[in-house]
């Protein structure tokens, strides 16, 4: 299989951890909250999922466990940052560190152990296409995350729930004035973000590389946060950014495999550079930034 096929085949799966976490953080930030603890939430979800699968609980249960566990941890963040109105940046970082610490603690006895992954499902007919066929052969979580992307896009564009979240983020005082509980909406958004981060971590540890190693999330949570901002809080762009990042990472590795004489460090930096440049260019319209930027992001809400 040539490099292009390789990239197409692997791009969606590589993007899935970023995508799930970024979609979660998108909802959180749209509601006006900045949660920087995504990395830790992912790590926590990852270890919970791994432990469940390792002891025979099956993949479905592992995702449920990861989602619930990270949701609970994210609610701790919500309690401190929204309930006690502590600084959101500091609180998010603290929860992130806590999440990573917990994942190291729980995962200690499972270091380097492996579990079985998930099979890939091939879409009929589409997966027979030459070159791009492998794109349509993915494990079920990838398909579900594509569905999630679509659902979130529809939510923000058409549904009342999406409207309410957007309103809360743009003008919490006005939202409160017309009778919405800003705090309740933000709590719900944070919990959702935590659940998605848990799913993202679970995917990394029990499907993508079905093993546990301390630190295996390796910064993907931070990249997810960056994707949300560089994608100007638009679902489509975030999806594009995640795929782009995944694709360019794979491209760098494929390039090394073909013996291309470019230093590996340069290739390792390419995904970051390309994603920043592409998203930066398409988001350079200041009108768009003002229009989509979240006016109340990170600010505590006082009634």
């Amino acid at each position: 299989m040539n490099a292009l096929e390789f990239i197409l085949a692997g791009m969606l799966a590589a993007a899935t951890p970023f995508l799930l976490a970024a979609l979660g953080e998108l909802v959180v930030e749209r509601a006006g909250v900045l949660n920087l603890g995504v990395e830790g939430l992912m790590a926590f979800g990852a270890v919970l999922a791994f432990i469940v699968v390792y002891h025979g609980g099956g993949h479905l249960l592992s995702f449920v466990a990861a989602g619930l566990g990270s949701a609970v941890l994210s609610l701790v963040f919500a309690l401190v940052a929204l309930g006690f109105r502590a600084n959101q940046v500091a609180t998010g970082l603290a929860i992130g560190i806590l999440g990573q610490g917990l994942s190291a603690l729980f995962g200690k006895t499972y270091e380097s152990l492996t579990v079985k992954g998930l099979p890939k499902l091939a879409l009929p007919w589409l997966s027979e296409i030459p070159l791009a066929g492998r794109l349509f052969t993915q494990d079920i979580v990838v398909w579900l995350s594509l569905a999630a992307t679509l659902a979130i896009w529809v939510m923000f564009a058409y549904t009342k729930v999406g409207l309410v979240v957007r309103a809360t983020g743009e003008n919490p005082k006005a939202a409160h004035a017309i009778g919405y509980s800003v705090t309740a909406i933000r709590f719900a958004a944070v919990a959702f973000g935590g659940t998605m981060a848990g799913f993202a971590g679970a995917y990394a540890a029990v499907v993508y590389t079905p093993l546990w190693a301390d630190g295996m999330i390796a910064g993907r949570g931070w990249i997810a946060i960056a994707l949300v901002v560089f994608g100007t809080w638009l679902t489509g762009r975030i999806f594009l950014g995640a795929c782009l990042f995944g694709a360019v990472s794979l491209m760098g590795l494929a390039a090394q495999a073909t013996g291309l004489d470019v230093p590996s460090q340069v290739l390792a930096s390419l995904p970051y550079l390309v994603t920043i440049i592409v998203l930066g260019i398409i988001s350079a319209d200041r009108r768009l930034l003002k229009l989509n930027g979240i006016a109340s992001l990170g600010e505590p809400f006082e009634r």
Partner: protein, 508 residues
């Protein structure tokens, strides 16, 4: 006598030490337009919050349509048939009109769009349902707010200072709408401090002062003077007579200034030319959002012109366009910004420290260190001369009432003995007594030879203060209009751009 729609008895509400409402009685008849009159701080907004369910009264009863009413939230108020349009709109700028309405009114987008158009036609509140709110003028935004209320089929509609954001023509249109609503069976509760307007539209008025009711009258049977007396408890002082002056030296000159701001939602200025001479007050009128903030920043020095654009702004004969605020102040320029808290004064700091902000050149510093005694003396003098009601100079600025803080800031700037004084929105949110005092002071200074530039959205104020008025519309200035030769309706025409060569769409 038909039973009242809404009946309040003995309503009281306190916030800590402040008794916002004390023993209020109020009856609103069906199909009536009822005004609630009072100066800033009299308790009008608090009373409305109680009626709308945002807060709960400490004492007293509310009877609605014969039944006692205990509202826990605005949503419940809406269900009962009470709607409210706040002075500061609760609209979301990045959403469209129909999306904004959808947040409050259940229904499918298509149905709501249709209803918005219908209501707009029936009540003269036309607005495009699919337009994003940030693209709407203030008048249009107000219409969205009113339509949003109407959709919940209210029987009582509360409007908080609705005309403060409208040009004269739009005020008439609004009143037309209100009359139609009243004839359609909706009662209106109308909060305002504009006496002429209340006399024009309302059939009943309740006057509040310092948290209590001082009278229920039919405003059509009283003149503005009587109403004012009920509002402030004493006669309003006469405005200061202007001593005619002419031919003073030019203190501020702006020649053909164009400015394109970085913020895409800000207003671009083009061809701004104005002159303010010694012994003259020039006023700039205009509906909010036509470039006033941008122009103010350019004059104050908060926005500095790039080098290519020298020769545009002159103060005291010197080219100051590229100079910052501090440099301009050194030439004898003083400035009272429109935001008292945050730009004019630091809320968390004491008045003494706030004096230092701009008055430090008056010997309040020595070798870079603060002379505490001198600063305190300056502040005390300012408090005394300008009748600032405050326990003392060490009180935090944020604890003062709007009017008192404004008096302090104006006083501070005047004590710098500037040659050129620029005041933006001098009496916004200021009670009648303080507003009158400030205006008298400005005219007195003018008589002594100061050059004063005023930007204000209150047309009455400009007519009282200014020798010359220019109107700002979409970033361009009208020619000079001598106040004594001009009528408010003429100004209104300029405000909506009816006189500009390429007359853009009418902001009705």
């Amino acid at each position: 006598m038909t039973a009242p729609l809404l009946s309040l008895r003995g309503i009281s509400k306190s916030y800590g030490q402040i008794h916002a409402n004390q023993g209020i009685d109020l009856d609103v008849a069906p199909e009536s337009i009822h005004a609630v009159l009072g100066e800033n701080g009299a308790g009008k907004s608090t009373l409305m919050k109680l009626i709308y369910g945002v807060e709960q009264p400490d004492e007293g009863t509310i009877v609605w349509d014969g039944e006692p009413l205990n509202l826990a939230s605005p949503a419940e108020a809406r269900r009962k048939g009470i709607g409210m349009v706040f002075q500061h709109f609760s609209l979301f700028e990045t959403l469209t009109v129909v999306e904004n309405i959808r947040l409050v009114v259940p229904g499918r987008k298509a149905d709501l769009t249709e209803r918005i158009r219908t209501l707009g036609r029936d009540f003269g509140l036309e607005v495009d349902p699919l337009a994003p709110v940030h693209a709407l003028s203030v008048g249009e935004r107000q219409r969205v707010e009113i339509i949003r209320c109407l959709m919940t089929k209210p029987r009582l509609l509360i409007l908080d200072e609705p005309t403060s954001v409208l040009p004269p023509q739009s005020v008439d249109k609004l009143f037309d709408t209100l009359r139609r609503l009243r004839d359609g069976g909706v009662s209106i509760l109308f909060i305002s401090h504009k006496l002429e307007e209340i006399r024009a539209i309302c059939d009943k008025a309740t006057i509040l002062r310092a948290g209590r009711v001082t009278g229920h009258v039919d405003p059509r049977e009283h003149d503005a003077h009587d109403l004012a007396r009920l509002m402030i408890g004493r006669d309003m002082p006469e405005p200061m007579p202007a001593v005619s002056q002419s031919g003073g030296e030019k203190r501020l000159e702006i020649i053909g200034l164009d400015h394109r701001p970085e913020d895409p939602f800000a207003v671009a200025l083009s061809g701004i030319s104005l002159t303010v001479r010694a012994g003259e007050i020039l006023g700039i009128a205009g509906i909010s959002g036509n470039g006033q903030s941008e122009l103010a920043a350019l004059i104050s020095g908060e926005t500095v012109l790039p080098r290519e654009q020298r020769d545009r702004i002159y103060m005291m004969g010197k080219d100051v366009g590229t100079l910052g605020a501090a440099a301009r102040r050194q030439l004898g320029f003083a400035f009272v910004p429109e935001d008292r808290l945050g730009r004019g004064a630091v809320p968390e700091m004491s008045l003494v420290l706030n004096s230092l902000l701009t008055a430090h050149p008056l010997g309040l510093l020595r070798h870079g260190l603060v002379e505490k005694a001198r600063a305190k003396a300056f502040t005390s003098e300012c408090i005394r001369q300008y009748d600032v009601r405050t326990p003392g100079p060490d009180v935090e600025a944020g604890a003062l009432s709007g009017g008192n803080l404004q008096k302090f800031i104006v006083g501070r700037e005047i004590m710098l003995s500037p040659k050129l004084l620029f005041v933006a929105q001098p009496t916004w949110g200021v009670d009648v007594g303080a507003a009158s005092a400030i205006r008298r002071r400005l005219v007195a200074l003018r008589n002594e030879g100061m050059a004063i530039l005023v930007i204000s959205e209150e047309l009455e104020e400009l007519f009282e203060l200014c020798d010359v008025i220019q109107v700002l519309h979409h970033g361009t200035l009208s020619p000079r209009l001598e106040t004594r030769d001009t009528r408010p309706e003429d100004i209104g025409q300029y405000m909506i751009g009816a006189h500009t060569p390429a007359a853009p769409k009418v902001l009705a």
